[in-house]
Symmetry: C2
Subunit: 294 residues, 2 copies
């Protein structure tokens, strides 16, 4: 019986899918909305299915084949509690494994070589592989983790806007921009924040980087504080042996110049993207390509 492989790269902002032959050759790609299985599993499930369907359509394949396919999903928040089991039971695929966004990104970025990836997007997670040892650092989600993430930077900006409104901290152009967006009414900021998902906070992060680059004092303070959290996590990665680090995620290009001098010589570019990594893992685990261990 014919079957296809599916790779899924699910993040807090969008979810991408690729459909491939059993040997891992990619036939088509598709995209849908956010897939954060921890904060919103129902939406994640819908978007995973939508992205897979879009990939089948992109490849000119009948989406009915989705139910016979074998999938590797890399998702943010994978390492947290029961959400994985809940989502896994409800996936539309014949066989599926849920892995961290870190693992599929590492597979894409480094192949089977040693090293680490720092995923700096709506969330943050660090994954290091040295020989057979794979270790995860961070990635605990927005509520009490994901330091330095876009969601945390956006959250910090909204906080600073209220502190500026109250005269507790000095405001600046970037906090002014938030307050005017919310009609200079802090209650509107609070009402937004109370219901905001990580991705909604994260949409403010590029604005903070942009203002920091132009010398805005609040922007500078927030980005330096966020970069410190990333550098602290990278120190752990280095202490575990990694000498090659690939910065990934939407904020990676914005972050690089703000990170500590001691880490700059370690940074390398990715060989391929996380979606390609997910397909490679699917081919090794469920397809016709033998698993290659490090």
């Amino acid at each position: 019986m014919t079957f296809y492989l599916i790779g899924i790269d699910g993040g807090g902002t969008s979810c991408r899918a690729a459909v491939a032959l059993p040997d891992g050759r990619i036939l088509g790609r598709g995209k849908a909305g956010a897939a954060n299985i921890l904060t919103d599993p129902e939406t994640a499930l819908q978007n995973i299915t939508d992205a897979a369907r879009a990939a089948f359509e992109d490849a000119g394949l009948d989406p009915a084949g989705i139910t016979a396919s074998r999938a590797i999903l890399g998702v943010a928040g994978h390492n947290v509690g029961d959400a994985v089991h809940y989502v896994k039971r409800r996936l539309p695929f014949a066989v599926a494994d849920i892995e961290s966004d870190g693992l599929i990104a590492l597979q894409g970025a480094l192949g089977y070589k040693d090293g680490a990836v720092a995923i700096l997007g709506t969330g943050t997670i660090y994954i290091a592989r040295e020989g057979d040892a794979v270790s995860y650092i961070g990635g605990w989600g927005f509520t009490i983790g994901d330091h330095g993430s876009g969601a945390r930077i956006g959250h910090a900006l909204l906080q600073e806007s209220l502190l500026a409104y109250d005269g507790i901290h000095e405001g600046s152009a970037v906090t002014d921009s938030v307050l005017s967006e919310f009609n200079n009414d802090p209650r509107d900021v609070v009402d937004f924040a109370r219901l905001a998902k990580p991705g909604e906070f994260g949409r403010y992060a590029p604005r903070v980087f942009d203002h920091a680059e132009h010398g805005d004092p609040v922007g500078l303070r927030l980005i330096k504080a966020a970069a410190t959290t990333v550098d602290e996590a990278l120190d752990v990665v280095v202490s575990r042996g990694s000498r090659t680090i690939c910065l990934l995620g939407g904020l990676a290009p914005l972050y690089r110049r703000w990170l500590a001098e001691r880490h700059q010589p370690l940074f390398v570019e990715a060989e391929a993207d996380a979606l390609t990594g997910a397909v490679a893992l699917a081919a090794a685990r469920f397809g016709s390509r033998p698993e290659v261990s490090a």
Copy 2:
């Protein structure tokens, strides 16, 4: 027709009520669970009603009189959006006004004198009155405000426990105590935090103060950071003219020694509690006692 006055002091940890004669003389008091109208309005409504009923029973009055009574409620989060209107429409009283926990506390602590109160409990809010001018600082709720609050301190402790688990920050006895409480499994910490209400985070705050007092390095760092946020807010209070500050709330006695030297001479003890302040406001506004302005 006979009616009673009701004063309500609703907080993130508990809700207290007093029933009084139209001249403000208190007849009975009662207590129920948390009343945070912002984060959990349904529970707040239930606990407000339960506390009022307990006060009537304490006074030997028929609780049926609640529906004819006139109430002032001081609640955490009062200054935020539509939650006030939602709760106000559903209260069981004949007439009611919702005020901030800050205002009823100030009324109780200072009477009609000038000065300010800093409410340091599950949440934080500062309220200053100088002549006719009343100003609020902070009090925006847990999500993006309430710096220095018990909820924020507890939240910070859980964060530090995960950072210690990952080796990103040094751990200590206080982070060890959290990790062992959660079976040394960070996923259990995350699962708890994801669903925790501000009061549930806040229950960890006394533990942090206790460890700080014994020199625990993480406890010291978190309490010093929290005290800085309180001192920053007190600077604003002072800049608006207050020379008398009353520290209130469950964390007030724990906080005092950690606050800046420059603020120590300003601190005074409260004349009466917030519940008495709520009854006094009810007597002035709805009762037989004329309103006294500053």
